[in-house]
């Protein structure tokens, strides 16, 4: 939910055209979710060693 809400506001505020806003929002959302999953795996692997 954090990723969703933050991506919406980022998309609206950081881009001009509607198409760009949607695209930027989707990319930001993907980065948020991907980063969270990657960070989770990194911490998991660090914790094992």
């Amino acid at each position: 939910m954090f990723s969703l809400f933050a991506s919406i506001v980022f998309g609206i505020t950081l881009r001009e055209e509607v198409g760009e806003q949607v695209r930027y929002g989707l990319v930001a959302f993907a980065w948020f979710v991907g980063g969270t999953i990657a960070g989770g795996w990194l911490l998991f692997l660090l914790n094992r060693h």
């Binding site: 939910m1 954090f2 969703l4 809400f5 933050a6 919406i8 506001v9 609206i12 505020t13 001009e16 055209e17």
Partner: protein, 144 residues
């Protein structure tokens, strides 16, 4: 030549300059409205969809923060992080004042979820400020 000088001094400010100044002042009112009521900055600019999305996003994140038992910071002069927490919280405008008035947002610092909730509340405020500043750019015509 002295008469020219007198004429120049007596000339009132040009209308375009006065209008620009008034517009500049009004733009800060747009920021204030956008800060106090999430999404209102866009509503003033007749950007209904953007305003609604910002309203839902900011209020949703703020509500989630409260549901997770996040803590609302009051004004303080103690730890730097506590001060910054208050700054982030107060950026949510009316949501902050309403929560304080209702006595909610006491938070539960002993649970992980409570800590997440506190961060949600701060993030909601910062997103609201970002949107309010963007609404000013729209008002001034710097952005569509």
């Amino acid at each position: 030549m002295p008469s020219d000088t007198v004429t120049k001094r007596a000339t009132p400010p040009s209308p375009s300059r006065t209008t620009a100044s008034a517009s500049g002042m009004a733009s800060w009112w747009v920021v204030a409205l956008g800060w106090l009521f999430p999404g209102m900055g866009y509503f003033v600019n007749r950007k209904w969809v953007r305003g609604a999305l910002v309203l839902v996003s900011v209020a949703g994140m703020f509500g989630l923060g409260l549901a997770l038992k996040g803590q609302i910071y009051g004004f303080n002069t103690g730890d730097v992080l506590d001060i910054l927490g208050w700054v982030g919280d107060i950026c949510a405008g009316a949501l902050y004042f309403l929560t304080r008035a209702l006595g909610a947002g006491a938070g539960n610092p002993f649970t992980v979820m409570g800590d997440y909730g506190t961060k949600f509340l701060i993030a909601a405020g910062l997103l609201n400020l970002l949107a309010a500043a963007d609404a000013r750019d729209v008002y001034l015509g710097k952005k569509k």
